[in-house]
Amino acid sequence: MTDLLQQLLNGLSQGSIYALIAVGYTMIYGIIQLINFAHGDVIMVGAYVALGCALMGLGFIPSLAVAMLTCAILGVIIERVAYRRVRPVSRLAALTSAIGVSLFLEYTMMYFLGADLRTYPAGFFPERTYSLLGVTINNKDLLVLGTTLVLVIILQYIIYRTRTGKAMRAVSFDGQAAQLMGVNVNSTVAITFFIGSAMAAAAGLLYGIYFNTVQPLMGLMPGLKAFIAAVLGGIGSVPGAMLGGILLGMTESLVAGFGGSMYRDAVAFIILILVLLIRPTGLLGKGAQEKV
């Protein structure tokens, strides 16, 4: 029983990180129907920027803020430089461009900072553990859960309660109709990249702390997993991405916890295949629902 609780707690933390990344994937897909393969690498850049801040002696929150802002701007630049002009040409062109950006970010980092594993300095986030009902709670878990919760609430607020959020939802449903309402589609897309990439940066820092690793290819696996989470929840749906992230994290954690750690990644991909077979639109994804 305590084992189960322990695994669920671990899964929740890991799932929260996936959720933060998946939200960015799904927002960007929702608005321009592009699988932004560079999204995982934005996580990595975020982790490095935060590492830089930490080495300069900044605390967790300022480092988080700097990383989020840097990556938000990076996201906007990526969209402007690599996607905007190829998007109207074809989806495949944009996808290829995204893979290019991904490789560019990975190997630029590797060139300048080397491929070595790095970790956050010892005093950056001192670890503590608590015990509750036989379950060990690490303050890392609390940090991940707390940060994710706050960011997700802010995100929900932006999407559902602000004018910008309304414009984002309108553009993702029908860009031309949104234009007819006076919505500037290009800037709305830019804002979406800004927000999605900021979330990715936060996920990068949390991932770096949680797994104690920062390296140039660190974004690959969580990026892929978050993509699975987004598809699982229904790509284009923000609540779906969150749900998908948490579910995937928990499943992985249970599989690993009960002796199947070798199969953890395989399980994630099997889930993806099953979802695509049984419910291609994902758990919370909607099919076309236009009425004539």
């Binding site: 949104a178 234009q179 309402m181 006076g182 919505v183 009425k291």
Partner: protein, 240 residues
Amino acid sequence: MGRVEAMLNLEDVNVHYGAIWALKGINLTVGEGEIVSLIGANGAGKSTTLRAISGIIKTSSGKISYQGEDISKTPAHEIVKKGIAQVPEGRRIFANLTVMENLELGAYIRKDAKGIKQDMEGVLDRFPRLRERIGQIAGTLSGGEQQMLAIGRALMTRPKLMLLDEPSMGLAPLLVKEIFSIIQEINQDGTTILLVEQNARMALQIAHRAYVLETGRIVLEGSAQELAKHEDVKKAYLGG
């Protein structure tokens, strides 16, 4: 009528979709306060004309001027701010948003909270069925209600000129009548109307003037009454 009073003026407007020459030198004028109708068969270029005016597609040559200003190169979202709203073909409401949110998006370009509230009340008075369904997801509305929402949404931009693309499409005859009388009311309240319709009979009944389009060209123009009596129009668009 004098070109000076024209609210909207198209001069030799050409539009190409890739290799397809969709508009071949369109000239048309809409005067302030008028209801002008474009009629013609499928593929004649009616919707393309509206889309070009709204800036959704780019013209390849020619000039579109609105209140004396050349807007042929102005981006779509800026054109709305100048006072041209379009109710697009197929309604294109935001089916994932609530009725309320759709109307609020109509007011996206505006900052005058008071005026927005007033107009919202005005729209809901005009379309009581939208008031009943204000919190509902727009995708769950019936076809007629969706058309009302699309018109209401356009009204929320507080347009001087409203472009309507096939507002009667897919609606039952009774609803078509209702929609057309609403269009007339909107016009009487001071909004100029450019109406694209396949239902030529209804369109000619409420329009002051009309143009007939055939394969990207204007082949006839005149007062709605004249056109309704014109032999060619009768034969081709009014069923004999």
